[in-house]
Amino acid sequence: MTKLSRHQMAWRAAQDIEDGMLVNLGIGIPVLTSNYLPPGRDVFFQSENGVIGVGPEAAKGQDDPNLVDAGSRRITLREGASVIDSSWSFAMIRGGHIDVTILGGFEVAENGDFANWDSRVPDKGPLVGGAMDLAACAQAVWVIMEHNTRDGRPRLLERCDLPLTAVRCAKRVYTDIAVIDVTPAGFLVEEIAEGISRDQLQARTGAKLAFAPDCRVLRAPAIDEAGSR
């Protein structure tokens, strides 16, 4: 079975970003997608701390402690960028001006319910940040996550077990073994990794899967992760 790596999952999601979109990337795997945009697609990345037009991370020595993204990375700006305050930034997010947000996730339910903020680590304080606003309000919510937990339990479920980030919001899930749309009728598999059967995929999933008529093989190029951020 050909599982996708973290970078390959990011690459796969990046292929679906359309020209001209305004995109917000969550921390973790999602932020990697900006490295894998297909050539010719001109995209603005928004960071919820108010940066519109996040560019690559700044080179050491050319970084500015005030030019950061929501994940505290020292960044650069792309051409045409601007910076707004948090009130404006969340007005932009809540107002539905973000075309796509790509978020890491813990669980997605077949009705689109989405859990990514509270994994119930005992004793640790809560950390929600902008996740609920992004998940509830972006025009599309794409989730990148491993298909199963480390101990093999499914993350795609009939109902989420973990506390929700937002209800009925997830539109598409990119896992290491499949690309799955969340439709009004439930999960619809669009792509499935090489060497895994439909039954095997179903067995690793906690809700009923349907398969698109043109269900394709999930492929990603080899990526030299040492050379990428």
Binding site: S72, D85, S86, S87, R94, G125, L127, G130, M132, V167
Partner: protein
């Protein structure tokens, strides 16, 4: 009398701050923390504070100093998780029941502060609906969608960081330094800015990011300027 909001020490910037105050602290993503004033607040010693800050545990903020010193009884924030496996000072005090915690979605947090400064007592937002953070909140449907009612947040004191100030209190921010600072200044009775440089001469109108009418005191951490 000519207006001049510049003060010459961090202690002077916090003169008159009382026990029991609600204090807003700007800063997000590593930028905009008023760390000089936060330390001054620790030295000031005001107790029984309610903090309104995006994060209770950001490693680049000195918020932890006033948490560790026991000055804080309540935190309203969006992030309260320390980075390591061990509990942060905030998490320890919170688990021990010494600090009360309210966690809000960040957009709700930002908008509630804006509302506080803008005379809006409450507003409806879609963020958080159907989640644990919205438990107990009033829900209402508009146009076929469910929203929760959030009340405004105001404060006695706001501490924010900017790049430049003038004697009128006008501020300009550098890149993502602004974040929550401008709204916090509007929502607090006393708004104090620390800046790299504070000049006597006015910032040109087109370079003012926050009008000085919102700022009560300015403290220059690097150069007083003339």
């Amino acid at each position: 009398m000519a207006i001049d909001k510049r003060v010459s020490s961090a202690a002077e910037a916090l003169a008159g701050v009382r026990d029991g105050s609600t204090v807003m602290l700007s800063g997000f993503g590593g930028a905009g923390f008023a760390n000089v004033l936060i330390r001054a607040l620790r030295e000031h010693g005001a107790k029984d504070l309610t903090l309104v800050a995006n994060s209770a545990t950001h490693p680049l903020s000195r918020t932890h100093e006033i948490v560790e010193s026991g000055q804080v009884r309540k935190v309203i924030c969006t992030a309260a998780r320390g980075r390591g496996k061990e509990l942060s000072p905030f998490e320890q005090l919170w688990k021990a029941g010494k600090i009360e915690l309210v966690c809000l979605p960040q957009g709700t947090f930002a908008e509630a502060i804006r509302a506080g400064g803008a005379g809006i007592p409450a507003f409806y937002t879609p963020s958080g609906f159907g989640t644990e953070l919205a438990k107990g909140m009033e829900v209402r449907r508009f146009g076929g969608r469910d929203y929760v009612l959030q009340e405004a947040i105001t404060a006695d004191l706001a501490l924010l960081r900017a790049e430049h100030a003038d004697r009128f209190g006008n501020l300009s921010f550098r890149y993502a330094q602004a974040n929550f600072g401008p709204m916090m200044a509007t929502a607090a009775k006393l708004a104090v800015a620390e800046v790299a440089e504070a000049r006597h001469a006015a910032i040109p109108p087109e370079q003012v990011h926050l009008p000085g009418v919102y700022i009560d005191r300015v403290f220059a951490t690097e150069a007083a300027g003339r």
